[in-house]
């Protein structure tokens, strides 16, 4: 399988094949590329970024680890339904264990609980 590594702006062109012992990867500049290709072949994952609605503001959020790509739309549904009603600091967990595998949705920016421009 031919892949473009998404780990950094270099965007290495990877070639990955399933072998008896695991996955063989070539074209990667660094170990992140190998890990990415292995995951793409077995279970692709992505960090999901979005926003959560609060009073008068959208608060940017992210998952604190990569989640299964196949679950992304289901997770978006949960994030879109959520409302933030209290103040949060950057890095605070807003939704715990959203994917059932331990990934939390955390704030990418602080939110004062008051309308703000971010």
């Amino acid at each position: 399988m031919e892949l473009v590594c998404i780990e950094c702006p270099r965007g290495c062109l990877l070639s990955a094949e399933k072998t008896e012992g695991g996955v063989s990867v070539s074209g990667n500049f660094c170990p992140k590329g190998r890990a990415y290709a292995e995951a793409e072949i077995t279970e692709p994952r992505r960090v999901l970024t979005s926003t959560i609605r609060a009073a008068g503001a959208m608060v940017p959020v992210r998952t604190d680890r990569p989640v299964k790509k196949s679950m992304i739309f289901a997770l978006m549904k949960k994030i879109r339904a959520a409302r933030l009603t209290h103040a949060v600091a950057i890095g605070d967990t807003i939704m715990e264990n959203i994917d059932g595998e331990g990934a939390n949705v955390v704030a990418s920016a602080s939110y004062g609980g008051e309308p703000c421009s971010i």
């Binding site: 999901l48 979005s50 940017p60 790509k69 421009s117």
Partner: protein, 414 residues
């Protein structure tokens, strides 16, 4: 009002410049920001991928901005928000306007950090009516990420710049149907990884060598017709593709925002559309420095921060010690290179210098030739592309012996 340094713009460039100037010993710094929060466009760039070079972390835009906002606040750097700069003069008087009125700040040094804006549809000359539903990609990004509003349900994206690619994914996640991305060039101007993670992940087609034949709609956009172009960018009859859509996004490039610069009489470079600068990022107007996207459009914010720190340190030195005598040689673009920055290299600086440049077209196994008049050196690069800024480093000795610097890219496979 008097300040040692006035920084125009509180985005990533302005914030990094302010912190660097402060740390270089110049504490009397003022950042002027027209929005109600600093952080610039990073505030609406909620996706990740920032900071990999600088912090070895995969941060979202707001997280990257936060690191610099925190540093600026820790130092107590003065930031005037909701304040618009209406005029800059060559003798470094900065006229500002906000709710309390109009006032002028006299500065010893000024750092231009106004960033860039998106090229508009008007700059493109597209046939058709003028219905609602046409947005620049960045405007759509602000609607979705900051205001929480979806600009449309069925979307065609014109231009494959990174913001357009990012918005293709973002709109898809928010429930819109992104029908395609159309690009007139035979390659995307966006990063390869963004084609992979924003288009391929969601099965969004990318039509290369396609342009808009027509935008249709009365009141609101109802459709777009794309057409394939030949090697001279002329439409090929019979290759039209029609899409029913209610929204069209434009992601067709960024232009440094240099109206203030121009009116101050600071010399601009038509290649970068930013000021002509030396290695300190000092413009040809003494004591006026420039950094970030107002100087030249960057692909990565990490490099904006690096450049802003150079400008911040140099502006601090200028404000505290005054100007130095310079011995400039020019840095020029040779074959297959669109521009080199800085455009002037100061031999008196007696320091190594990194020169940034962009190539005109993509090459694999490229050979970069740096000609200094006195000698020539070559550097090999595995792959270069117009969308990715490159650099070469020159030592103090190489610069000392140089008559000029000319960078060219040759060889390799196209």
């Amino acid at each position: 009002m008097k300040r040692d340094i006035v920084i125009i713009g509180g985005g990533p460039a302005g914030l990094a410049a302010a912190v660097a100037a402060y740390d270089a010993g110049c504490k009397n710094v003022l950042v002027v920001e027209r929005e109600s929060e600093v952080g610039g466009v990073l505030k609406q760039c909620i996706h990740n991928g920032f900071g990999l070079t600088r912090f070895k972390e995969n941060l979202t835009g707001p997280e990257y901005a936060h690191k610099f906002i925190e540093e600026a606040e820790k130092r107590g750097i003065e930031m005037l928000k909701d304040t618009f700069v209406t005029e800059l003069t060559a003798d470094k008087k900065v006229t500002c306007m906000n709710q309390s009125g109009i006032f002028t700040v006299e500065a010893k040094a000024v750092i231009l950090a106004m960033g860039c804006r998106e090229r508009s549809k008007g700059a493109l000359n597209i046939a058709g009516t003028r219905p609602a539903g046409l947005f620049s990609a960045g405007t759509a990004q602000k609607y979705v990420n900051v205001k929480g509003m979806l600009p449309g349900k069925r979307v065609v994206i014109l231009g494959s710049g990174d913001i357009g690619l990012i918005m293709a994914r973002r709109l898809t996640l928010e429930g819109a149907k992104v029908l395609c991305v159309s690009e007139i060039m035979p390659y995307s101007s966006g990063l390869r990884r963004n084609i992979a993670q924003c288009l391929n992940d969601f099965g969004i087609p990318l039509y290369l060598e396609h342009t808009v034949a027509e935008i249709e709609g009365e009141g609101r956009v109802s459709g777009v017709t794309l057409v394939k172009v030949d090697e001279n960018k002329r439409p090929i009859a019979g290759t039209e593709k029609h899409f029913d859509c209610d929204t069209v996004l434009f992601s067709v490039g960024l232009i440094p925002e240099n109206e203030l610069t121009e009116r101050a009489g600071v010399a601009l470079d038509p290649r970068t559309k930013g000021a002509v600068v030396d290695g300190d990022r000092q413009t040809q107007t003494e004591g006026v420095f420039a950094c970030g996207n107002v100087l030249h459009v960057h692909d990565l914010v990490d490099f904006v921060s690096e450049e802003a720190e150079i400008a911040g340190r140099a502006a601090a030195e200028y404000a505290l010690q005054g100007g130095r005598a310079h011995a400039y040689i020019s840095a020029e673009n040779g074959e297959n290179v669109t521009y080199v920055l800085p455009q002037r290299v100061d031999k008196n600086k007696n320091a190594p210098q990194k020169l940034f440049f962009r190539v005109r077209k993509a090459f694999r196994n490229a050979v970069v030739t740096v000609d200094t008049g006195a000698r020539r050196k070559t550097v090999k690069k595995i792959a270069v592309a117009p969308g990715e800024m490159e650099s070469v480093a020159l030592s103090a000795e190489e610069i000392g012996g140089a008559e000029y610097v000319k960078i060219a890219v040759t060889g390799g496979d196209r």
